[in-house]
Amino acid sequence: MINLVYNEMVKITGKRRLLVVALIIAILITLFTYAQAQQAADNRERFGDVDWRIALEQRIAGWEARLASGGFRGDDGELELRIAQQRYYLDQDVNPAEPGAPTFVRGFVENGISLLLPLMMMIVAADLVSSEHGAGTIKVLLTRSVRRWRILLSKYLALLLSVSFIITLFGLLAAVISGFVFGYQGWDAPVLTGFSTTGGELDTSGVRIAPQWQFILMELGLAWFVSVVVATITFMLSVLVRTTAAVMGIMLACLIAGTILRTMVSSWETAKYLFMVNLELIDYLEDAAPPIEGMSLGFSMLVLLVWGVIALIVSFVSFTRRDVY
């Protein structure tokens, strides 16, 4: 099996798929880093004279006053955490408006999880099986003395390896490239997480502070999960549809439909069972409201898991039974 997986990796790298993905990611990160640097420069110009330390101290003083007078309607715990969070910036002498590489990585993963990363997975997964049909090499592949399910399994394992590689690369490149501009500080800056919703209200009782590096790891973990599911669905399409272009087209349509549907699901509730509506897992870690009431991190992960498992079963059943012409 190791040999078979090795063979599949030879093909993926032979077609320079991983190189293309790495280049796309590197170029995009450079672009966004530049854009964010420009934005920071803009802000500095606009609020140039105001010392950020003084502004931050004023904000903390305001919150503390509110806490003392009991005028805050929400949960006291959350406010205390927010104060603690801001104090960190003062203590560490870090301008919260001018973050370092870690903050960039955090934002980049968050934005990339629903479209950019799935697209990258598509590049690798779309032609994994369909290209063998297209090039006719399926005939030499399936006439080896290896059973078909082992061939497909080796392809899937190679895909999982590639997905893991891309996610790691994504995180590393984002950190390294943006760090050139923003510096590498702020790995243990505090991030608020643990929000949940109950009955339509934001429930902050579970909120806690996590160091930023931990939060980034959580994000990357969720991004990996989403990527694996998207890759698995693309993999299934690659088995079912014999042309790579059609696989890409169908998958693109799904992903783009997902971004549109996400804004409309509030009026179409059953859409929450579609995989493409459930890709933004990271939002659940932060205080954004879910697109539909009742959707939670657990729910979305379960939906994705079910889609992934079904896709995998369909792939194997179809691949092992089908006649090849």
Partner: protein, 312 residues
Amino acid sequence: MTGMTGAAAQEEITLSVQGLRKVIGKREIIHGIDFELKRGEVFGFLGPNGAGKTTTIRMLVGLIKPTAGTIRICGYDLHRQFPEATGSMGCIVENPELYSYLSGWGNLQYFARMMSGIDEARLNEVVKLVGLSARIQDKVKTYSLGMRQRLGIAQALLGRPKLLILDEPTNGLDPSGIREMREFIRYLAESEGLTVLVSSHLLSEIQLMCDRVAIISKGRVVRVDTVDNLLAQQERVSWRLEPIEAGMQLLRELAGSADLQGETVLTPYDEQEIGRWNQTLVEAGVTVTEMSRRLPSLEDLFLELTGGESID
């Protein structure tokens, strides 16, 4: 282990096909095919396009699942003992499609990793056998069709198979390439003891390299015989005569049958009698301007064997 009993070892059966059928949708494509291949023979699979050659071959190599029937390769059931059965077989189905973005050597390494017991020495041996040593490190996309064909054969021979299945092996090759391929196939059968199954729609090709032939038409094997037997029965003489009507009339009496085809008359060939026929014609005042032995065309053979069914 070949799974062979001692008694069968003398005439070792490398491929045995029994009651092979394939139904697609409601149409029956293959209507029950039986044949057996012995060790060291080159077996031709002859039929027009659309006769079911390719479907049958794809069933033999495991790409298509038969609706009914059994295929045994060196005694292993293809369906139930797939790895063992395909392990004793090498094949090229239609064009030799390999990974064009890898080098020839890269392709062979790739296939070697899918089998056990193939070392670098075997790779070198196979490359040398097909005469690709000079270009083996180049990417396959730079190869000519002939070179791809050779690499395809190298790939098929890599696992030291006992049975080699080649689907239209000379398709797209130039005349010298075709001759080389033919000689190579004969060499494999005679010197290496391989059983080779070759499919083709060209009778001349089959005639030159095969020991036995199965003629397939509309999903059935209509005849299995040695090439010599088939040709002897079907060989004809074409006559160019002046005047043609009178000559044809006379030949019909002499040879039993004579058919007009274009400007020539076709009769069966009979080595003993043909001189006398010619003499009779001349004596009767018919000028024989041309007289030639004609190998049967596939078309003739088909018309004969299938009783009027023509090639598409």
